[in-house]
Symmetry: C2
Subunit: 269 residues, 2 copies
């Protein structure tokens, strides 16, 4: 049930743009029962994009989400790279072209673009790998794309965060929840009055061994007088009651371990 | 001269933490004349970390920077994974142990930790792949690590942003500037009174062809009445005068292209 993200764009690698898309997708996919196993950030290079996609397919990722590179300019190469990686031709999709036309007609009517003619640059956004389905973009012009390849589902979203989220929320939650099955994910976060992670380490390590279904993580901020450590317990399972049972048992043992070490819990979420 | 980043931590993949380290490193490395070619985010899994590192070495990355997984808990696996990937034993470094001791003595004196004894968890932070050098951590306890492997330099930094930046600024700018040579990087950013990227696409495409030394990128935000497109011209070369010459020539042609299309520049950085 692993999911990989491929974030595409030279602007990410030169540090011009902070990639907030990946963080948003990680949260959203995890909440829908998926497991993000890897994220790769690469530049606008067709060969590199195609290679990373092939590597993800070779790892049998169930879902592969790309962000970026769907726009009208020549360096928007994602769909051409997907086609190359899968050995598919690029064809103009009638449905995608209708979506692009509808968007520009609305933008022109609102005076936001000069005209609604489908220029070559605008038509480019409707050229998809053969067999791919376009996904409606409620915010911008470039449709998203979804396609199957063997047991993998490949989803291509634009890099503009509002467009990425708009397409995701419009078309993907049901599809992904179905792919991920009935998985349920939950977590508990305890804030501690302790700034020394080395003191917490043996408690966390024992807890992880005693509760293999629960992922236990302590997090250090910088040292200092106002520093508080955080312990996160998280679990994924077939249903809520099982997951809550695991988490409550682990939390019980965490509290006992902390009490023995003289550490108290400040807050519990 | 390529540099790869490997950001390590389950908290990144479940979307608990936004990875700001990568963005900071991308900016900083680019400013020092390096080229970030790929970033990979993965979880706390020794085999996966070792595999990604081996892949980066196989791509002959000149510099590989890892973030995360250097702390005292059992799921801090980065150095053990590096040792496995390179076929090296893990050994306690006397210099690293002195650094860890100094930190805890200062923290204990300031009342921030209960005692300065080097417990097993604290000693763990001084166990490095054989031949690795520890890097002083001015903010926290875990030293950074630098080591050579063939033509590659591997740098391991903690995941806590303040510690990562503190080690980087203390020990790495000179080392990296030397590795990257005399490369100079600069950019020009033009903000336009145009919200339609498809109108800009032919201008950008022509510019990229006419100025192969300059990387030309237009960026779309969401469509709307207040939207402005941005065009970034960036270049890297042996010295400032050459790079500035390339950028000024490209900027001249960009202005001409925009004028012909009736698009004006709002601001230029």
């Amino acid at each position: 049930m692993t999911t990989e993200i491929i974030a595409i764009g030279n602007e990410l690698l030169i540090g011009d743009v902070l990639d907030t898309n990946t963080h948003w997708l990680c949260r959203r996919v995890t909440g829908l029962g998926g497991v993000i196993s890897r994220v790769t950030l690469i530049g606008d290079d067709r060969e590199v994009i195609a290679g990373v996609l092939q590597d993800a397919l070779a790892r049998e990722a169930r879902v592969i989400v790309t962000t970026g590179g769907l726009g009208p300019t020549a360096d928007d190469l994602t769909l051409s790279a997907v086609a190359r990686a899968l050995g598919l031709p690029l064809v103009e999709s009638e449905r995608a072209l209708q979506m692009v036309q509808t968007t520009y007609t609305q933008l022109a009517a609102a005076g936001l673009v000069a005209h609604d003619t489908l220029t070559e640059e605008r038509r480019k956004m409707a050229i998809l790998p053969a067999g791919a389905l376009p996904l409606f973009n409620p915010v911008g012009a470039a449709p998203g794309v979804v396609m199957r390849h063997g047991a993998s589902t490949i989803i291509c979203l634009p890099g503009v965060p509002e467009e990425m989220k708009g397409i995701f929320e419009t078309s993907l939650p049901t599809l992904l929840a179905e792919l991920y099955g009935e998985a349920y994910y939950a977590e508990r976060v305890a804030q501690l009055d302790c700034g020394d992670e080395s003191m917490l380490a043996p408690i966390v390590d024992c807890l992880a061994i005693a509760h293999p279904s629960v992922y236990v993580k302590s997090r250090a901020k910088a040292y200092g007088p106002d520093v508080r450590l955080k312990v996160t317990l998280s679990a994924r399972g077939p249903n809520q009651s099982q997951v809550d049972g695991w988490l409550d048992a682990a939390l019980h043992d965490l509290c006992a371990g902390l009490r023995a070490a003289g550490i108290s819990i400040i807050s519990l979420l």
